[in-house]
């Protein structure tokens, strides 16, 4: 840990960095999409910036009898949630708020996504959007319990809910080595709570874009950016929980954190493009009948190891 001065600078720096990482993710996705369509990858990677400019200038459309208050709250919430999550993620030596229950905080914030996405769906007063909102809740009910145990497992191993202590506990051995199942479940859950990749059915094309159907202009920008930001915080948190945080040879801690975060984010984006969508109604059974028991076993194994090691 460094001094207070550094922390205050970090308050300003963190959102900027989050934005930058999210943008990098978006650029990568754009490049991959372009290549898939046979266009030059570079043009694709510039696409997000152009999209930002376009959406900033676009006029907001409003549907009839929309619940604007809830709609706006839902739209803004994703980005706010991502920022609030950033507060407990250590970036090398810096962390905004190293609260003793940082892990639970992260969890509470990703539950906020439930509300946010459903409000987006509800507020628009549109059938497609509402169906998207419901899809997300169904998906959320499936991934949340395995995610909770995936979060608990590193905490058990580090015997602390404070994220910095979890990072410190992996100096000798990264948690991903001996809790691979938890890591995978966590990664899948990150995709799920970002409504991304195979878990993007809430916004998928078969319901005309779902929660994105009616949003336009700045609102749409906020939601799209929020999803990338959530993905980025998820990647950063995976680094802190399982990949040793800033641990690495020679180079400074913040650098290693950045590199690992970007790498995880890239993997998220590349890999999840290769999967087709997962229907939430099918997911529930898989998550509860396979995911939850296997996750419980992982937690049990870790607990036993911790208990035996003393």
């Amino acid at each position: 840990m460094t001094g207070e001065g550094m922390n205050q600078a970090w308050v300003l720096l963190a959102p900027v960095l989050l934005g930058a990482i999210a943008l990098a993710g978006a650029a990568l996705n754009g490049a991959l999409a372009a290549r898939a369509e046979g266009r030059p990858a570079l043009s694709g990677s510039a696409r997000p910036m152009l999209e930002v400019v376009r959406l900033m200038r676009q006029r907001r459309r409003v549907t009839v009898a929309a619940d604007r208050l809830l709609w706006r709250i839902g739209g803004m919430a994703l980005l706010v949630i991502a920022l609030l999550k950033t507060a407990v993620i250590p970036f090398g030596p810096w962390i905004l708020a190293d609260i003793p229950v940082g892990l639970v905080w992260f969890n509470a914030m990703d539950v906020m996504v439930w509300a946010a996405i459903w409000l987006m769906g509800w507020g628009a007063n549109s059938a497609h959007a509402l169906a998207g909102g419901y899809r997300f809740l169904a998906q959320a009910a499936s991934y949340e319990l395995p995610l909770m145990f995936a979060l608990v497992t590193p905490a058990v191993a580090a015997q602390s809910l404070r994220v910095s202590e979890i990072v410190d506990a992996q100096q000798s051995l990264w948690f991903v080595v001996w809790m691979p199942v938890a890591f995978l479940v966590f990664c899948a859950s990150v995709l799920a709570f970002s409504a991304w990749g195979p878990f993007a059915t809430a916004a998928s094309g078969d319901i005309a874009g779902g929660i994105l159907t009616e949003v336009s202009g700045v609102d749409r920008l906020l939601i799209l950016a929020g999803r990338y930001a959530l993905l980025a915080t998820g990647a950063a948190f995976a680094v802190a929980l399982f990949l040793g945080g800033g641990a690495g040879p020679l180079l400074p801690e913040w650098f290693w954190t950045l590199v690992k975060t970007l790498a995880v984010l890239a993997v998220f984006i590349v890999v999840s493009r290769r999967f087709s969508g997962v229907r939430p109604d099918r997911l529930a059974e898989v998550a509860w009948v396979i995911g939850l028991p296997i996750m419980l076993l992982q937690t049990l194994v870790v607990s036993i190891i911790v208990a035996v090691r003393g």
Binding site: A66, V101, E285
Partner: protein, 188 residues
Amino acid sequence: MLSIIIFSALAIVAVVSGIAVFRVDSMARATYALAVSFVAVGVMLLMFDLDYIGVITILMMVMEMAIMAIYMIMFMGMNPALMPMSMVHNNRWSAILATGTFLLLAGGAVLVPWPARSGSVGTEDLTMALGEALMGSKMLVMLTVSPILFATIVAALVLANPRGRYDRWGDNLQRATPDDPQQGGLGK
């Protein structure tokens, strides 16, 4: 001083959104007003150094309200953003009783000579201490409470489940895959 200001602000948010639950016309708004009230109380708990409980309250209640909203809309089956709703009975007496109770409780809170604080907040990790109390000295309480809670959940499932296993697997449980209106991911 700052803490009083913050607390008062939170208190106003909590109570006003609590009142809003029964005043607003939209079911979604009512539900999420309740969620706001809970979040405010959760933050208040954080002010009492109850980190874990406070965050957990926020977590649980936001989740609960997200589900609650579904039920609200499922059962009431209309979009009250389009039509105002007033589904109350016994309004006057309810208000009188609630006010009376408030006067009683608030009077008690103000007039009772509360004892001084005994003991102090330890420097140790409260969450850890709570965990140790749960699994140690208060094990018996949890052993008693948890089966009851579990039984209640099972009872709730039984009540809510319209189709038993004979509906799904046939009269002699002979089907290889269950006959569900909506097939699950594993076909179980």
